[in-house]
Symmetry: C2
Subunit: 322 residues, 2 copies
C-alpha cells in the first residue's frame, strides 16, 4: 500500500461530511466555511513510549488522540467542527489503521467532527491532531477567574491516574476486575466534556481542562487570573471504583491532586451561578462539583481547608522530572 | 527548563501579532476571527531521518517545516494567516530551539503569519505544522484542469533533488562551491510561492505544489481533473547552477521529472491567460514557464513531445519503495 492509498483509506473512514466543509481530504489543503463567530484551534501530539504504550489498542489511541484535543476545545467553550491528523507510523499496517479509524470515528461522530486534512509518514509511531471549533459568544479563558468565584470540577478526578498505576503494577490488584477495568478505561477513553464546555461558555468565568493534574492545572488558571484559591479536600469528587481500588486515603489524594490525564473541566463561576450549574449537572448527568473558592493571594497558590501548608503541584511535565 | 518555559520561549520568538488573533499561545486553545471568505488549512510533518538529516541546521528546519505547509496554501491560492506547531524533541536544547525559531520567523514574517498554538513533547525529533489561510474568491483545486489548458510551472525544478544528491555524494563534486551551495540551499530553504498562488487564484484553472516530483504531482492533478497531458521536455525551466552541476542530460532530466522537494507551483490555465501570466512573471520575478498542454486521454497519463513511451512517475512515497 502506498502513502496515497493509506490517506484514501483514512479519508473514507473518517470524513463524515459537514455542510460547511467545501473541500475535504484529497487536495493540497482543505477549504471550510467559518460562518458566524470566532474560531478556536489547538494541537496536541501523542508519542509512543511517552503518551501511550507500544502495545496499546489502536482503537483506544484513535479515540484518545482526538479526545485530548476535543478537551482543549471544551475548556474554551467551543463547538468542535474539523480536525487534521498527522500520523507517523513505522510501517503500513492495515489492521492497525482500521482499528485506529474505528476508535477515532466513535468519538468524532458524537460531536459532528469531520477530518479534513492529514499527513502520513514513516517514522517512530506518533499522532498529532489539530482541531478547529467555534464560539458564538464570549470567551472562556484561563484568565477570567475573579476573587470570590466558586471553583468547580466536572466528573471524577484521579481515575485515569489510578488506571495508569494499575497498568504499571504500582497498585495492589486485589480489587474486582470490573473496577480495575473502569479505571483503565478512564485512562484510555477519556470523555471530552464538549456539552459541559458549551454550557460553561455562558456561565463560567474561567476554565481549563485537567490534563497535567488538578493542582498543576489549577495553578495555570490562577496564575493567568492573578489569584489564589483554597480547595476543600473533602469535597473532591471520588468515583466508587477509585474508592474501592485505592482504599488508602493518602495514595488516593495524591492521584486526585497530581495524577493528570483526567480531561475533566476545572472552572470558576460567580456564586450567583450555583443554581443553574447544579441544574445543568442534573440534566446532563455530568457531575459538576464545587470544590473550593478563588480569593486574593499569591497568584497560583493553592491551599487546602484546614491545612497550614500550601498544596504542591507535581503534575506532568514532558521535559521535567517525571 | 520545563515544558511550559519552552512553550513560552517559543511563543515569545514566534507570535508576531495579527489583529485578527484574539487569543494566541498560552490558553487551552487559540481564538481567531476569520472575517470574510473561506478558510484553507493543511498539515505536514517532518521526521528526523526521513525528511531531514540528524545534523541539519535547526534554522533550516524551522524554515522548511513552515515552507512546505505554506506551499500547500499557495497551491490553493490562499493568504497565510496562522500556524500551530507540534514539536517533538529528544531533550530541551535552548540553542537548537533558538535557531529553529530564527529560521521559522524569517519566513513567517515575509507572509504575516502568526504562531497561535503549539505542543511540545519528548520523543524522536519531529515537527508537525498546521497552517490556516484564507481565500476570498474562487477555489484553486487540483481538479479544475480543462482540456485545452496550458500547463505551467513556477521557478526552476530539480534544484532541490540535485542538492540532496550532492549531500548524499551521489553527484560528482567538480562544480564550483557557489553552485553547489545554491542547490543545497534550494533543498533546505524552499521558497513557498505565496504571491504567485494569490495571483493564480484568479487566473489558473488548477494547481498543485511540486513536492513528490513533477511527474508524480502532475499525475495527481490530471487524475483529479480526469485528463491527460503532454509536456515539452525542452521547455522545462533549468537553473544555471543545475546545468553546471549536472551536465549529463539524462541525469538532469531524471532530477527534474522525479526529484521532488521543489515546492514550486504546477498549474493549468486557459490559453487566453497567457499574456497576463507572462506579465505577472515579469513583475514578480518568479518565472512562470509554459511546459505543456492538457488534453483528453487516460486520466493521469503524461506524454513527452516526440517520445512514443509515456513518462513514468517515480516520485516520493513515504511508505513506498524509496
Amino acid at each position: 500500500m502506498t502513502e496515497f492509498e493509506l490517506i484514501r483509506q483514512l479519508a473514507e473512514g473518517l470524513d463524515d461530511r459537514r455542510d460547511d466543509t467545501l473541500v475535504g481530504i484529497g487536495d493540497d489543503a482543505a477549504i471550510v466555511r467559518p460562518g458566524e463567530g470566532d474560531l478556536v484551534t489547538a494541537v496536541d501530539s501523542m508519542v509512543e513510549g511517552v503518551h501511550f504504550f507500544p502495545d496499546c489498542d489502536p482503537a483506544d489511541l484513535g479515540w484518545k488522540a482526538l479526545a485530548v484535543n476535543l478537551s482543549d476545545l471544551a475548556a474554551m467553550g467551543a463547538q468542535p467542527r474539523w480536525a487534521l491528523l498527522a500520523l507517523t507510523l513505522p510501517q503500513v499496517d492495515q489492521q492497525w489503521l482500521r482499528r485506529f479509524v474505528t476508535g477515532w470515528r466513535e468519538l468524532a461522530q458524537t460531536v459532528g467532527l469531520q477530518l479534513i486534512g492529514g499527513d502520513t509518514c514513516r517514522g517512530p509511531r506518533a499522532v498529532s491532531v489539530t482541531v478547529i471549533g467555534s464560539v458564538l459568544s464570549g470567551r472562556l479563558l484561563r484568565s477570567g477567574a475573579r476573587i470570590g468565584d466558586d471553583l468547580y470540577v466536572s466528573g471524577y478526578i484521579g481515575d485515569a491516574a489510578a488506571g495508569l498505576a494499575l497498568l504499571q503494577q504500582r497498585l495492589a490488584q486485589q480489587a474486582r476486575e470490573a473496577e480495575r477495568c473502569h479505571l483503565i478505561s478512564r485512562l484510555h477513553r477519556p470523555q471530552p466534556r464538549t456539552a459541559t464546555g458549551l454550557f460553561l461558555a455562558d456561565h463560567a468565568s474561567a476554565a481549563i481542562d485537567v490534563s497535567d493534574g488538578l493542582l498543576a492545572d489549577l495553578g495555570h488558571l490562577l496564575r493567568a487570573s492573578g489569584a489564589a484559591a483554597t480547595i476543600d479536600l473533602d469535597a473532591l469528587p471520588v468515583s466508587d471504583p477509585l474508592k474501592t481500588v485505592v482504599p488508602d486515603d493518602a495514595t488516593r489524594e495524591r492521584l486526585i491532586l497530581n495524577g493528570g490525564d483526567d480531561y475533566e473541566l476545572l472552572f470558576c463561576a460567580a456564586p450567583n451561578q450555583r443554581a443553574v450549574i447544579a441544574s445543568h449537572a442534573e440534566i446532563s448527568s455530568v457531575p459538576l462539583t464545587r470544590i473550593g473558592r478563588v480569593h486574593a493571594g499569591e497568584p497560583g497558590l493553592v491551599r487546602a481547608e484546614g491545612r497550614s501548608q500550601p498544596l504542591l503541584a507535581q503534575g506532568w511535565d514532558h521535559f521535567g522530572e517525571c
